[in-house]
Symmetry: C2
Subunit: 194 residues, 2 copies
DNA sequence: CGAAAATTTGACATGACTCAACTGGAGTGG
DNA sequence: CCACTCCAGTTGAGTCATGTCAAATTTTCG
């Protein structure tokens, strides 16, 4: 299993001894998913959080009208899970589906609690990761309030240039909270403006 | 200083020994603000996170057009800070202003780091608090996408019944991401429907 | 009581949605 | 290699949710 990306990621936040690394590695699982497979389904309990080694996933929920709303995309070096379901071990609100063949490293809920006992530094790692995640979640709320769909699309393209080319436009529209038709109109308008 | 609300809050997440409690209390500051005073101003560094004992605050930013956007309200038993500024100790994006006379207990950035060293359990407390905060931030994003302003207003009233009556309507409109005029129209429509 | 602030109301403008029709690739099978 | 289908993407007409602006009304508070 290729653990280098994970260890490299962790080293940006905390330093682990060799022993701690080996404890850590003993408690995680490597897993490969095919394109289209679900890592998590709405209604199931989210039993693990996944760190992406390669590939791409979308996190979405299906509303009462059957409409799909994409909450986030995840790529290499990102985490994905339904945090609400994970921390309370109750039914998930979201689905996580692979848009490409995807390799992940998974922390299960039980192991995670053990890990925090054995390597308290990890608690710090997760605290810091959560802080960053919360900041960017808040920024997204702010952007959704004060920017038009066009501005949000431009920011998205800047922020996730690789994702923009890898996935269908209707998913990007869903992520931005607009219809595919309207995204299409935004794009043709942007071309005219140049 | 009235520390009971804080200790009571903490006890929902972790158990502290008497000694830990006294270390904790030695590192925090009690502070009273008047109505209208700022706990934090856009551009300053957020040096502390504040736990509210009483009163009410709004967190907002002023955009390029001078428009005010309210990100959140905080009341008794909630935390408030500009997390992004706090964790990186850089200029804050947001203002935090007291809408009523407000009592807080403050953790300064430096003390917080010391505290985590001396009482590692606190790291767990903050991790758990952040998890919850992230979940509710994500839920808010989802709601903003899939619900109309009217539905969001009804949820707000349900979720913060006390706030709804304490503060001017134009601030609620700002929090909901709509204009005060449109909020007014929603309310008159709700009355008609009854 | 009077002034300032907050709220409401109405006319009109616009961003974004819906629905339906059309275009253009990417398979697939004969 | 062509005809066919299927799916993503585009385009246009009409509509709805929400915004803007200005005026009228109500509330707050010195």
């Amino acid at each position: 299993m290729n653990t280098a990306p994970l260890l490299n990621y962790i080293s940006k936040y905390i330093d682990l001894t060799e022993e701690e690394v080996s404890i850590l590695l003993s408690k995680i699982k490597y897993r490969k998913y095919l394109k289209g497979q679900y890592i998590l389904q709405q209604g199931d309990v989210c039993k693990c959080s996944s760190f992406l080694i390669s590939g791409c996933t979308k996190t979405f929920y299906v509303d009462a009208e059957g409409q799909e709303h994409i909450i986030m995309f995840s790529i290499k070096d990102w985490w994905t899970s339904d945090i609400g379901s994970f921390i309370t071990q109750t039914a998930a609100d979201y689905n996580i589906q692979c848009l490409e063949p995807t390799e992940v490293i998974q922390f299960s809920y039980d192991n995670q609690e053990e890990l925090f006992q054995e390597i308290p530094k990890l608690e710090r790692l997760f605290r810091k990761m959560l802080e960053k995640a919360l900041v960017s979640s808040q920024k997204r709320i702010v952007r959704n309030f004060s920017l038009t769909a066009k501005e949000r699309y431009l920011i998205f393209k800047e922020q996730y240039p690789t994702i923009d080319q890898r996935i269908p436009q209707y998913m990007i529209a869903s992520f931005l909270g607009i219809t595919k038709e309207f995204l299409s109109k935004i794009k043709s308008q942007l071309i005219l403006e140049q």
